[in-house]
Amino acid sequence: MTDIKKDKDRPIKQTTQPDAGRRKILKGAGAVTAASALSVPMILVPPRANAATELNMIAWYGHGEPDMVEEFEAMHNVKIKAKYYAGGDNMLALISQSPPGTYDLILSDGEFVKLLKEAGYIEAMDPNEYNMGDLFDEYAHFDAHWMGDALYSVIVRFGYLGVSFNTEIISHEEASDYNILWDSKLEGKVGHFDWHLPNLGCLSLRDGNDSPSPFDINSSQWSKLQETTLSLKPQVGGYFDYGGTFASLKNGEIYAMCGIGDWITGVVRKDGAPVDSVIPKQGGIQWTESYSVGKGSKKQDLAKEFIRYITSPKGQVRSIQMGAYPGMSPYKSGWTAINEANPEEAKRQRMTFDGPNCIDDLREGRIHFRETPVQQSLEDWNDFWSEYKNA
């Protein structure tokens, strides 16, 4: 220590004097090397205290992308790790194949919350911990999220499904009736997003099955729905996944689709394609997305914090404009925030307080919640969809 102190106090040029012995130089070099060796790992490995916590999420594509989570990650020094799924069945399978507690946050479509709860994958939630008072009345006690008096999921966004169409071929008025799909000018130009639930739901509405729900139909209504669907076959140009749906509408290969909505056309329009979506006079289907806290999660407080963030005005502005696909806000403060941040988008998605808005459709009873079949099994519907594709 004394030597080191001496060396430290000595002017640098002295160490380079010709009289400095080789041993001294080697000693100095050794000290520098040792110091470097000790300091390198300290530089390469970030201090433990600053390491970001990981929050695991399972969600539809887009929810874990930077446009949705970067602000929250910075605020809480957290890294959100998203596992994406394609469809509720896929989500349930992924969760069932993972050890309990793998996912801290589970984003689900409304109709799958009950299945998540029954399987024991999600925690009960305290409504007082979230912005429930800010919800529009229609969502204040959303049936799909409550089992008895217990809340299991907190809604983030919603959207409507009806008819999406090429505005250069079909007028808004024409598209406002599901029967346009059978029009001769659409022969081979009707597309399907390849999932039976929204398609059959919309076609069930076309058949007049709006009470109690297009998914709650008896055997004769089910037979009629199959007949209706099969009669559409000559018009069908293809069955597509998300990418294919996007491409076929954009390149004009498909003129109309039922069972999709602004979540697709909102993105295609941004790319300059002449497409739009409407809710036909027979009614439309509603999708919702909500967050639950994963059962056994060790980061429940952080997960709850994220839910509070994404349902806050700041989070809702991001959610409404999500890059992957847009969605409407069920929160009044979300509407206020988007009207301030991007009035055009608020107007486009009909989230304005003055004049008719998207909540009016719900109030008028034109929109029906997308759910799994009530009187038939999911397998029956799925089997029929395979038959239809092969017809």
Binding site: A86, G87, D89, N90, L92, A93, S96, Q97, L115, E118, A119, G188, G191, D194, W195, H196, V236, G237, G238, Y239, F240, D241, G244, A247, S248, N251, G252, E253, L378, E379, N382, D383, W385, S386, E387, K389, N390, A391
Partner: protein, 294 residues
């Protein structure tokens, strides 16, 4: 007599045994590879076809319900025969289109041109097949490049996408370069003196091709056809992205089956039927390729 029966102590037998051990040693990696990545997964696939799905989770068991269900569905057999037909057409079309190209490269061009041609036949494999299939949409859609060109001469628009034509274009994209290479390899090894002999004996050009060259190159031609059949039969990308899944093939049926209800056991039934079909066709074709002339 005892010596002709090759007793174990016979040096020749001993040498043969050594050769066999030597050969076995060298062939072990492929045997192990096939066991781990083909035989065991195949056994597992067969086993899960008897499992059940409860609450979106596979439950081990032994129930023939998945086989009964799938075999009783009309759409399964429709998809089966359709897939078989699609792959058959793709095999014939690809083999016919590839042959003139392979023939020209084998007999009509200089070695330098042949090398460059081989290079360009291999280059497409540098890019993902999915990307290549997707890029065809730009050419084939109603407002695409082909229909724009047709419109210039007052034709069209033609439906080139979301039908069997689109699917076939995808199959050709996948298989044609490979088949040309396989056919070329066989054609390049055809003994030129036999061709000259045929000409000297008065055999016409076309007859020489069909009666001398094709029989001599049949291994490469049949192998090319087998590869096309296998790749097309199991392909998902072309029928989905260029054929619009309209109507679906077996590979799409597998996706549909797993997507809704997570019915992996039923998908396993479809997969096993596909594998058995391909094995049958492959063994028959290889036998035909190596069969000696009577």
């Amino acid at each position: 007599m005892a010596r002709t029966q090759n007793s174990p102590s016979d040096p020749v037998t001993k040498q043969r045994r050594q050769v066999t051990l030597y050969g076995l040693t060298w062939s072990m990696p492929i045997v192990i590879w096939q066991l781990i990545f083909f035989v065991f997964p195949l056994i597992f696939l067969f086993l899960i076809s008897f499992w059940l799905v409860k609450n979106y989770r596979m439950v081990p068991g032994f129930d023939t319900i998945n086989w009964v269900k799938m075999f009783s569905k009309g759409y399964f057999w429709d998809a089966y025969w359709r897939t078989l037909g699609y792959a058959g057409v793709a095999t014939v079309v690809t083999s016919i289109l590839a042959f003139p190209c392979a023939f020209a490269l084998a007999f009509k061009v200089s070695p330098k041109v042949r090398r460059w041609a081989l290079f360009f036949l291999i280059v497409p494999f540098f890019t993902s097949y999915l990307v290549r299939a997707y890029s065809w949409q730009i050419f084939l859609n109603d407002n695409g490049i082909f229909n724009t060109l047709f419109a210039l001469i007052g034709l069209g628009p033609f439906q080139l996408l979301n039908n069997f034509f689109g699917t076939l274009v995808g199959y050709l994209t996948l298989c044609l370069p490979l088949v040309v290479v396989l056919q070329l390899t066989s054609l390049a090894n055809v003994d030129r003196t036999l061709i000259e002999a045929a000409h000297n004996l008065g055999c016409g050009r076309l007859r020489t091709v069909f009666q001398v060259i094709i029989p001599l190159a049949k291994i490469g031609i049949i192998l090319g056809a087998v590869f096309t059949f296998i790749l097309s039969f199991g392909d998902f990308v072309s029928p989905y992205y260029l054929g619009g899944s309209k109507p679906p093939t077996l590979s799409i049926l597998i996706i549909d089956t797993t997507k809704s209800g997570q019915q992996w056991p039923r998908a396993a039934v479809v997969a096993i039927v596909m594998i058995l079909t391909l094995l049958t066709i492959m063994f028959a074709s290889v036998a035909a390729a190596y069969r000696k002339r009577a």
